[in-house]
Symmetry: C2
Subunit: 220 residues, 2 copies
DNA sequence: CTATAATGTGACCTGGTGGTCATATGACCA
DNA sequence: TGGTCATATGACCACCAGGTCACATTATAG
């Protein structure tokens, strides 16, 4: 948690510092982020930084909180089209909506992903908690899906979770890496071509890479 | 390339230094690897290190070469059971054999993966070449597979490559992470349970996560 | 035994790191 | 006005990084 002093700051200054930190994390990850650079780019004194935060990990954790909060807000007025829908369609909706959210705060998400996926494995307990959360949600979803006869039961739950995580990671990585190159990310994201790519990826997750009687068709 | 001096060294000393470097990369990655620690753990003077190598990246590239060479040796007397086999069976065989190789040099592989996957994205050209190689091989394989009618053609080649890469990465990561915890990795790797897990993962890649008429059966 | 070449060494350099602290600034209030 | 308290500052610290280099040691050859 940042110290109270940080929250007393005028919003503009607070944002400047926060954004500088986010940019630093996106570029260098957590381990290689430099507080010196952060203070330089945000135009504050070194001492000030330590009056706002314990250390750089403190800022990073704060960023995760901000993401979580913004995510909640974003999803609040975007309820899934049908509550009792097919699990794959639900996952589909979740991935796509999640991507839209991600692209509205690209650097923040990039920073979080980079650290959580890259360094998180070799890091302390603090970060592990964040990964557990999504894992738990996925587990519940899959248990339900198996009960409903939607997911192949011969693949056990733990493995299915791992598979869905992998897919979700792969798609996010793809969208983030490609999206950043675009001049208008949202337009790119919503373009038929991009949508089809994501559809195809999710289709393969569902039906596999082997050619079977079921064929891919783009769904609106 | 390491300097000639390095190759003139008695084998034992050479190995000591090399192993220390590998261990360092496995633990800290390339960016955070410390030459100071490497020289300390291998018991040589700082100056000697720079008489053997240009810098730490030089050692790392050398490690990649060593891996490549050992891989060639390993695969030399392990030709695929049937040359004109189904692509998925071939991929299956490749993954499993590759894993066996990986577990015979776990730290080296771990180090390479860590850097190539984690830092490689944000690194210079040197490393990109190594990723391109495997990508090219996969591309050819998939083009053939589509021509043979084995892979769904509605999923285009580029995407299929990405999917196979993702799977290969996911499985490797899984095996490496779990394998390292075991007291006897090879025994663990060859145990029916582990084999079944890998079979299941590859099965899902092939037929998808959704329950269909085709059911998973463990194949010998 | 001597001269020359190859190898080994660690003190030393510059520069960056995370973090501290005495001091300065300025807003607010009695 | 003078006093107080939160905020701001950057010089400074100890530490570690990668890298160099004059010098010491050892091996080789004549």
């Amino acid at each position: 948690m940042p110290k109270p002093t940080f929250f007393n700051l005028p919003e503009e200054k607070r944002e400047t510092i926060f954004n500088a930190a986010v940019e630093e994390f996106a570029q260098y990850g957590l381990e290689n982020a430099s507080t010196n650079r952060i203070v330089k780019t945000s135009g504050i004194a070194k001492g000030s930084f330590y009056q706002y935060f314990e250390d750089k990990q403190d800022v990073f954790m704060h960023m995760l909180d901000v993401i979580e909060q913004k995510e909640k807000e974003f999803f609040k007025d975007k309820p899934p089209p049908d509550h009792n829908m097919d699990t794959f369609r639900f996952f589909h909706w979740m991935v796509k909506t999640g991507m839209e959210f991600g692209l509205s705060h690209p650097r923040m998400i990039q920073a979080a992903w980079r650290v959580l996926l890259g360094e998180g494995l070799y890091y302390g307990q603090n970060l592990a908690g964040y990964r557990e959360k999504t894992k738990k949600a996925l587990t519940e979803m899959i248990e339900q899906a198996i009960a409903r006869g939607e997911v192949d039961p011969s693949v056990d739950v733990k493995l299915a979770v791992m598979i869905m995580e992998t897919w979700s990671n792969a798609i996010s990585t793809y969208v983030l890496n490609e999206g950043i190159k675009q001049k208008n990310v949202l337009k790119w994201m919503r373009s038929p071509k991009t949508q089809e790519t994501i559809d195809k990826l999710l289709y393969v997750m569902e039906y596999g890479l082997r050619k079977t009687e079921s064929e891919f068709v783009s769904k609106p």
